[in-house]
Amino acid sequence: MPNVKATAVTIGPVTHKNPVFIASGICGYGEEYSPLVKLERLGGVVTKTITIDPRPGNVPPRVHELPYGMLNSIGLENVGLDRYAAEKLPMLQDRKVGVIVSVTAETEGEFVRIAHALAPLEGYSGLELNLSCPNVDGSALDHGRNPAFVERITKIVKECIPGRSLWVKVTPNVTDIGVVARAAEQGGADAISAINTVLGLDVDLETGRPIFARVSAGYSGPGILPIALQKVYEVSRAVSIPVVGIGGISCVEDARKFFLAGASAIQVGTALYADPGLPERLVDAFEAHPEWIRARMEPKAHE
């Protein structure tokens, strides 16, 4: 029997059975991956970022493989708040899956509306504010780069959802991620999720055109691991709330490095597509070695 307490992690008012999550946008609304992953074994899943109104998403192609990861330009295609609440959220409810609902919006008013609408619902334990999607126009990403806005939004959303945790997901595409994370902490965030995708671009040599209609896209997968570790380290030094490490995790060793760099939980992203067994293998590993969850890097010293 795994020692349940040993793998548990507490984020704000919520205790999760273990620190292994699936990242937003990777497994849709969760249900889609239930034939392949025992979702109830995980700390939880972060569902696809939703907006108040449904969004069609970007013109295809939307993904492009690289030897060290992938680029995506999904563009926040989602069913919108109402259908999410009516159809998607209830699907995972009876199956004891830990759910973190990812949301974004453009204006303060919209953030309040979406948080108010979600507040009375059952079936999830926290919200993740996606202030970091590189694949849409308008202010979503710009917001995530503006500490004052991050603090204000965090504050007003947090007030709407008592008893639930609030995770703020930050972008690596900033000069000083610590400042943004600190702003979220000031606003009352329970955790910082780091990182979202890194801006990237590829060109089709046959056509001489960019792969994506929007030209720039989000880079994820193993190639961003060192960047994500560095950002998690920076964030963990800037704030005292838990950090959720995301970016390039494709094996147990990668996940362990995030904890050493300062994370309290991790999310699996792109690697899930190639290796749907990974999240459960991570749970197995941390159940066998719960000490890996609390391990933190010591400074380098001469032997």
């Binding site: 889609e32 295809p60 192609p61 060290y68 992938m70």
Partner: protein, 260 residues
């Protein structure tokens, strides 16, 4: 699922037939469905690759694959006894239409779902299902290895080295003239699908088409593999992996279809 390679048969310079064991708990697939296969190569990152089911019996699944890049190359190199990791069957299927005369047009590996339809969906329903299969040359008809010479299969080669001289759609148009059909199926390269689309429109018959696209999850989760449609409900996009791969051709916005 982890399956084992039963047979890996080189059919021509670029085509091969990969037969793998069928895991006991894999649901029975329908023609048009596909499996999502892990690339058996290490050292770099690979997304999985989708392949239509070409044939499936109680103990094995066969895929008809054309080697295009590193993913298909790694699969070509898999040998008898080695493992292949996949999940599926995924997606929808070509509709079963009892009593209808179906004319199916396949180009290249687009033959796979149409072949499976003929030999598994309709076992023996004969001339109400006809397949026109077009290839560049005789070599790509695999006549030595796949039993295509059947009265319900029409073969076309672009260089005329076997069967009809011309492409599959031209051959289908001629066949239609000889003996009309109620429904058109098609699967193959984009230009072929567009030509088939025209044919169906001209003859005023329904047309079901199997589309391809780059995939992430193949489960309808990531919204990577969408194609533009005339449908609404929040988004005009539908996923090839979950809503497809088979679509009523009239709902697709052909002009905006991404090239794979």
């Amino acid at each position: 699922f982890i399956a084992t390679v039963r047979e890996n048969l080189q059919l021509s310079s670029r085509y091969f037939l990969l037969r793998i064991s069928r895991p006991g708990d894999m649901p029975a697939p329908a023609a048009g469905q596909f499996i999502h296969v892990g690339v058996p190569a290490s050292g770099r990152f690979f997304l999985r690759r989708p392949f239509s089911i070409f044939d499936c019996d109680d103990s094995s699944i066969a895929l008809l694959i054309v080697e295009l890049g590193p993913g298909t190359r790694a699969l070509r190199r898999r040998q008898r006894g080695q493992e292949v990791d996949f999940y599926g069957p995924l997606g929808n299927a070509f509709p079963v239409m009892p009593g209808k005369r179906i004319l199916a047009i396949g180009g290249g590996v687009g033959l796979a779902p149409l072949y499976f339809y003929a030999f598994r969906t309709l076992d023996g329903c004969g001339p109400s299902y006809r397949v026109v299969y077009g290839a560049r040359t005789k070599e790509d008809l695999f006549l030595d290895n796949i039993p295509l010479e059947d009265e319900s299969v029409l073969l076309a080669t672009e260089d005329g080295s076997y069967g009809y001289r011309g492409n599959a759609v031209e051959c289908a148009a001629e066949e239609f003239g000889r003996d009309p059909a109620d429904v058109l199926f098609s699967c193959g390269p984009a230009p072929m699908l567009r030509a088939a689309m025209k044919l169906a429109e001209e003859r005023g018959i329904p047309h079901f088409v199997s589309l391809e696209n780059r995939m992430g999850c193949a489960l309808g989760a990531c919204r990577a593999c969408v194609v533009p449609t005339r449908l609404g409900d929040g988004s005009p996009y539908r996923t090839v992996c979950h809503d497809g791969p088979v679509f009523d051709a009239s709902v697709i916005v052909w002009d905006e279809l991404p090239q794979p």
